[in-house]
Symmetry: C2
Subunit: 356 residues, 2 copies
């Protein structure tokens, strides 16, 4: 049962707690705080350039000598036509205008950027790499493993977990329906609740399983271990810490949200992600305009979202959030992590002293 040592031993960490790679919201301070306390901090590098990522890794290394991870988005071939881009640009016009922005255009997305980041992680000997949106090419996995880098995939179904196992990745994050932010699904979008997903994936693969989705505290961690997981990945709980780069209005929105206030939308990036429902989502989801594939939709909305963040416009901002926001707190990451560990110890003691 107690698979957690499979995770902690392999990752050389004290507690089976992974801070999710929240692209756009992690800081070296957050990553280092989690790693210094005995968890696994993660640099959310999905949107970073190679140069920025290099700087981030250096900054984390200045703050901790403990293991940490880098999370990357696996690129995929994109199908699109120019007229769909034009239509989305027109639809977004009122938002560009609102902030006096030029109409954004799609960027050129080369697989080379991804390959460059992989090379950087190997050159800088980053201990752990986690992947979202798919499984990298076999050659990349082989190279990383040869370098002794531990690799983690993200699955939202039994099928994806099996594919990850077959690819040779070392661990699998089993991401349930409750999870905030981007859905890791890379086959079909699946909506399986964490309580149902974890034991079914545990029974289907022999890799260590890291539970994710709606897990916010010591209770969720111990529940996940009971389900057979080897550890947990938590995002929203760390998103509201002082060290997170999320705008203050986003943090405030989370701690004031109810569980039913979130929705899953592709409108911000082109990939399904769970966030707090707002006018921007409602406006564009109901407009009938086709949402562009990731990352093109992201290219067109980035400047709008940056302006919304600057102006504190919660009606427009993407406010990623899982389904347990009432458990979130605005505190510092070190204190929060220590509280989770202390509460875990307390629960284990209670459990051992009392009959259930």
């Amino acid at each position: 049962m107690w698979n957690s040592t499979r995770l902690t031993d392999q990752l050389s960490i004290a507690y089976p707690i992974v801070q999710a790679g929240m692209a756009g919201s992690t800081t070296p301070e957050l990553v280092a705080a989690i790693s210094n306390e005995g968890g696994l901090g993660t640099i959310g590098a999905g949107y970073m350039t190679t140069d920025v990522l290099s700087d981030e890794i250096e900054a984390v290394r200045k703050l901790t000598d403990k293991p940490f991870a880098v999370n990357l988005f696996v690129p995929e071939d994109i199908q699109y036509d120019d007229s769909a881009i034009q239509m989305m640009q027109e639809k977004l016009k009122p938002y560009y205008d609102k902030y006096d922005l030029k109409t954004a255009n799609v960027k050129i997305h080369s697989e080379q950027t991804f390959l460059d980041k992989i090379q950087l992680l190997m050159d800088m000997e980053v201990p752990v790499v986690s992947f979202t949106f798919g499984i990298p090419a076999q050659q990349i996995i082989n190279q990383l493993k040869k370098k002794g880098i531990i690799t983690i995939g993200t699955a939202s179904s039994i099928e994806e977990a099996r594919m990850i196992e077959q690819s040779g990745l070392d661990m699998v994050v089993a991401q349930g329906f409750e999870a905030g932010g981007h859905k890791g699904a890379f086959t079909k979008t699946r909506s399986i609740g964490t309580m149902a997903l974890i034991p079914q994936i545990v029974d289907s693969v022999s890799l260590p399983v890291i539970a994710a989705g709606g897990i916010m505290d010591a209770r969720g961690m111990l529940a996940s271990l009971m389900l057979g997981a080897s550890g947990v990945q938590m995002g929203t709980t760390f998103l509201t810490t002082h060290e997170s780069k999320a705008p203050n209005v986003h943090k405030e929105a989370i701690i004031h949200a109810q569980p039913e206030d979130t929705t899953v939308t592709k409108i911000f990036s082109g990939k399904s992600a769970r966030g707090i429902e707002n006018n921007f989502i409602n406006d564009l989801e109901t407009s009938g305009t086709n949402i562009l594939p990731y990352p093109l939709q992201n290219d067109l909305t980035t400047s709008i979202r940056q302006s919304a963040a600057k102006n504190g416009d919660t009606a427009i901002l993407h406010m990623w959030c899982g389904q347990a926001p009432t458990l979130a707190k605005k505190v510092n990451a070190q204190g929060l992590f220590r509280e989770i560990v202390a509460h875990t110890d307390q629960l284990i003691l209670d459990f051992k002293m009392n009959n259930i």
Copy 2:
């Protein structure tokens, strides 16, 4: 933490495991098997007449002297117009024809039937009554409590759990997104995963919380207790037992299903329920024909579903199922219950002997 004694003491049961009141699928044999083993069996009386319910209670009492529950659907005012009924009847015509059935009509639904059942439960001194689809009138709750009957409500959100607590009901089932069969929601339909829902409801009410949704085995039970629940309610896991009245093709469909094969539909009864996706659901969900409110939609589809069950037509049958069907087994209820208890003991022992 170990709230489970709050449940077991109050219900006078040995293990904090409630068999869900699966209307249409429970038998006296199933209910008695669970109660005899130390859980709480439940007669799913949502669709029963008072006479049938009376017979069922007597039949259960012949098989066990242990506590058991009766689950009732709380009636509500229905708004409808005849043209909507006609349109649905036309849409269902091919299905009536397929089985040489007369076109079904809606029935007269009087609150009196519900009141008669309540009176029966008091007269027969049934120990526990659970409610789905709402909270009964205050007078009914008061009468039941005066009789010493323990009352349980069903919530799918923090708001509903608070309403249940305020009404004076004794316990609350917190039903997560993963749950098979009917959604208990009585305010809005909420889709909160069990892992996220349980701790948030536990933190919001002081009633004992019974976790439901995707819980199939000892792992799910212990996970729920870790989340702060006082016990669990399990449906799908008991639906495939030999004692369940579910048609064999339904049981076979569950044990061969994948987690993503279920969907939530109102097409069978007029209320949201999770079942295995099939042609009937796809045909009627995409037809554009308005689904009638519960129980009128149920009135129109009952004969079709009965014929589908008789003929083993899985393309038409309602096949309720939660999101963890790969954990289901076709076994006898007593053996399954004992296996859950034995596995729980084993996990607790492992937990106590090992560090996590």
